[in-house]
Structures are given as structure tokens and as C-alpha cells.
Amino acid sequence: MSRSAAPGFAVALTVLVIGVLIAFTVGRYPIALSDLFSVILGKLSGRPPDVPPIVENVIWQVRGPRVIAAALVGAALAVAGTAFQGLFRNPLVSPDILGASSGAALGAVLGIFFSLGVLAIQSLAFVGGLLAVAAVYLIGSAVRSRDPVLVLVLTGVVIGALLGAGVGLVKYLADPYNQLPAMTFWLLGSLAATTLSDLLPLFGPVAAGTLVLIALRWRMNVMSLPDEEARALGVPTGPLRVVIVAAATLVTSASVATAGIIGWVGLVVPHMARSLVGPDFARLIPAAALLGGGFLLVIDTVARTGAAIEIPLGILTAVVGTPFFIWLLTSVSRTWS
């Protein structure tokens, strides 16, 4: 199986490992590499390490949760993007195509508008994402068509636009001194406020959805064929499509609820992974998970160390993603068509 995929996987794994190392050692609060090792060794051996407690605190309570969150969210968005690109037979598709991000954004800004607590805002965002895609699915299935996938995409675009208008309306009505800046910061994406208590609600849906998509990777190749062909090959496309969309939406909604709107990861990382391990989804999905985690880790590290103030993740991924994508489009793409 891994005829030519082993080197590709090695690269993806290396990116993740390097990402983790850099993320732990680099930061606004100066921590030496030796201190990092003492703290880790201390945890493993049970003896308290010889570093000031603040350093231990920063490593376990600040960077630790942030590193885990960035790796999880990056892997999740990459896997969701890969699955959707297969499902919709289009390499230009991102996980937001069915409106999950717009629904989550509306949920979050409504939470901010009604001055709710952080947990409530995150829950509203999560539920908003799920409801948006559920609505798209229900409306899409009510439309009889030869191409159920195209109908889903069109419905997703329409509902996404409607929800975007909703977000605009809430921003318009918001108190410009207090709520509007909060909404703006949230929408631009950030992991700045990630704590240990954020990780559990994030971990559940993201792990569940990502594992489902990874488990289904052997069927993803067939799902990328035209619907009739896939059914003739013995795959129940209707129910499987629901499962894949549900898993990807779970993952996307949880990520957006925790970290705000981070675009480009779900669009660019699948392509990077494809150039490493080839188009077979069985290899692509795990590779995308590794690469996505590493990618977002590196980006988040830049976001929190580039300046004293946080650079929003959504902006960084766009700044990095756009030229990369243009390069992809213009270079000889032997990976699709």
C-alpha cells in the first residue's frame, strides 16, 4: 500500500512534530528549551522540576491547551475539507460550503449581542453551525434532482449568504463601543483565550467527527465518483453522504465555536497533502490530519509571537494561503485533472 506514500507521511509527521516543538518553545513569555525539558521530565518522573512555578504554569496551562487546540482544530478542518472535496467532487471546496461557519458566526454574534457568558457563546456557535447545515440538508433533499450533490452546494451557498446577512444585521444593531469590537475579534479567529476547560467541549465533537471520517476513508474514493456509479459499486450514497456531512459539520462547528472563523486551512491543506501522498483518500485523509495540525500550529505560533498583540488567525491563514493557492493553480497540477 505505501508504495510511494511513506515519504509523504514522513514529511507530514515531521511538520506536526516541528510545529509542536516550536509552539512549546516560542512565545511572548521567554522559556528556555532546557526549562521545557525539565518540566516535561518532571511531569514524567513525578519529581518537581527546578523552574519557577510561573514557567510550569505557562507551559501546562497556557501553551499546552493552546497547542492541543491548534493541532486539533487544524487537523479537524483539514480532514473536513478533504472529505468535502471528495464528496462534492471539486478541489475548490472548503468546509464552509454548506454554511457551517456562517451558522456558527450567527450563533456567536447573537451570544455576544445578548451579553451572554463565554460558554453560552461557544454553545450557540456550535448549535448554529449544526442547525445551518441541517437546514441546508433538509431543503436540499426536498428538491428532486438527478444531482443531489449540486443541489446541496447551491442550497449551502444560498443559506450561507442569508446567514451572513443575519450576522451583518446583528453587527449593525450592536452597541458599537462594547459589543461590536467583541464580535469583530471573534469573527477574525483567535486561540488566545484557550484554557484547559475549553478543551473538553472541543475535543469530544472534533475527535468523534475526525475519527468517523478517518474510518470511512476507504469509501471516500468511491464517494467521489458520480452518484450512480457509486451506488452501482455497492455504496449506499444517500445515507453515507449524510454521515460524512454530519461528521464534517460536527468538526467544523466545534472548531469555529472554539477558535472563531479560520478559513483556508480546509481548502489549502488537502492540496498540500495531495502533493505529498497522492489523491487516494485512504492516504489523503490521515495525511491531511497530520499536516493540518502542524500547519495551524505554526500559524498560531506566529499569531501569538509576531507582535505583542495577537494577529487574528483568519488573517494569517489568508495571507499565507492566498499566494500558496495561486502558486498551486498556476503550477503544473498533476494531482487533479
Binding site: R144, S224, P226, E228, A232, L233, D280, W336
Partner: protein, 255 residues
């Protein structure tokens, strides 16, 4: 084993395409489906494959209602070879053929050693083993059609249904595919294919079914069904027959 349809009415949710159709295909024989554009050939094909629900009547496979099979069971008995197409993703030919083994595993299973062996044999059978690692998007139309044939064979089905298998092929490859169709019947498969070319039907099929405007015009052994009069009635245009007296073979030309 038989794949048969009785009093079949076919169509889509908004319109009826054909009615009163009776089709029988047995393993070991080749049935050719002919008809002009818009006659309902593809609709009939898809209904026989279980991809479309009949509007009336029923399709039976091994004396069981086709609708009572789930897609996995059905795929182990009937394989579909669509017209070769442009693929979105550049899977290797081996990956494409391995997709034929999907129905033999469950939702999460990966290809086993025996799956790979079946796929390898299938590639060998059609002479494209050397293309195993080539991206599907970088082989010729004829090779793609053979790859899809190999994928269908990898399903280890009893019946193989092909939609216009020679549509985008060059002249040489057309003959090659027709020969493969005959050999498939010889190895015990039931083969159904649609075609625009009566000559292909003449050479490769045992029986022919003529469909015009959703109604059966004629069906039966090719020698009796494929005549000038029948074909002229079918296509609504003059058709000439040219015979090689010494070899006893004949061919049809558009008039």
C-alpha cells in the same frame, strides 16, 4: 441466473419514458439494446441496474425483486460500466479497479490481499496490467474504458451492464472492447450493452432489443431482429445492408 423485467414502465419523477417493456437477460449471453437518441435506452439501463425505480412493473434478479436487494448485495451480482469519463481526481488505475471490490467488504474495510489479487487478475485479463500505477487521467480513452471494464469484472458479478462502451473510442479500440464483451459471455457472465452501431450488435451480441420512443419495436436473436426493415423502422432513416457472400458476414451502413 436471469435478470428480467416484466411489464416495466420506466421514467423519472416528472415524466414517463417507456412502458410495457419485457426484457430477459440470462448469464452466458449478450444482449444489445439499440435505439435512436431519446428512445429511453439509458433510462431502461439504469432501471435494470436498480439505479432508477420502475414506475410500474418490476425487475427481478435471480427470481427476487431487484428492490429487495441492498446496494451491496446487488453490486455483487450486477456491475455497471459507464461511458469512460473525465475524472476529477487522478487515482491510479489500480485504485480505480480496486473500487470494484467495495461491495465485498463492509463500510470500513480496507482492501485485503485477496482483493488485490482479484484486481490484479482483472487488469491482466484486459491487458492493462502495465498501466497499474498510471493516473487514470493520463491514459487514453480506450485504456480508460478497459479500466472501467476491469473494475466491473473485479466486482465478480454475474451480470455486466455497459452504457455505450464504444462511444469515445477509436476504431481499433472499438473492436477490442467488442471482443472483450464476447469473452465475458464466454466466461459465464450475462452482458447487456447499449449501442448506436448495429454492427457492434451484430458481431458481439446474441440477442438484440430495439427501443423507439419508449416502446419495444422488436427483440430476439440478432440474425432475425437486425434486418434492414427493422433498423429503418427503428431509426426512421434508410439503412443499407452490405454482405460479404464468401465470408457470410454482413454490415449495415447508414443510407
Amino acid at each position: 441466473m436471469k435478470l428480467e423485467a416484466h411489464s416495466l414502465a420506466i421514467g423519472y419523477s416528472d415524466r414517463l419514458v417507456g412502458r410495457d417493456l419485457d426484457v430477459v437477460l440470462a448469464t452466458g449471453e449478450v444482449l444489445a439494446l439499440l435505439g435512436p437518441n431519446g428512445s429511453g435506452k439509458t433510462t431502461l439501463l439504469k432501471t435494470l441496474l436498480g439505479l432508477l425505480v420502475p414506475k410500474a412493473g418490476e425487475v427481478r434478479l435471480d427470481d427476487r425483486r431487484l428492490g429487495s436487494y441492498d446496494s451491496r448485495e446487488r453490486a455483487r451480482l450486477v456491475a455497471y460500466v459507464p461511458q469512460s469519463h473525465q475524472a476529477t481526481f487522478a487515482f491510479t488505475v489500480e485504485t480505480i479497479v480496486l473500487m470494484g471490490r467495495t461491495a465485498h467488504g463492509n463500510l470500513f474495510s480496507r482492501p485485503t490481499v485477496s482483493d488485490r489479487a482479484v484486481a490484479a487478475r482483472s487488469l491482466e485479463r484486459f491487458g492493462i496490467a502495465h498501466l497499474r500505477d498510471r493516473p487514470y487521467t493520463m491514459i487514453s480513452g480506450g485504456e480508460r474504458q478497459l479500466a472501467l471494464l476491469a473494475r466491473a469484472l473485479a466486482q465478480e458479478p454475474r451480470f455486466i451492464v455497459l452504457d455505450e462502451p464504444t462511444a469515445s473510442l477509436d476504431f481499433g479500440n472499438q473492436g477490442k472492447v467488442m471482443r472483450e464483451i464476447r469473452s465475458l459471455a464466454a466466461s459465464g457472465h450475462g452482458v447487456l450493452f447499449t449501442t448506436h452501431d448495429p454492427n457492434h450488435a451484430l458481431r458481439a451480441a446474441d440477442r438484440a432489443y430495439l427501443l423507439r420512443d419508449g416502446s419495444r419495436i422488436a427483440d430476439g436473436p440478432v440474425s432475425s431482429v437486425l434486418t434492414c426493415e427493422q433498423l429503418t423502422a427503428l431509426y426512421g432513416a434508410t439503412v443499407e445492408q452490405v454482405t460479404d457472400a464468401s465470408a457470410g458476414t454482413s454490415a449495415f451502413l447508414p443510407g
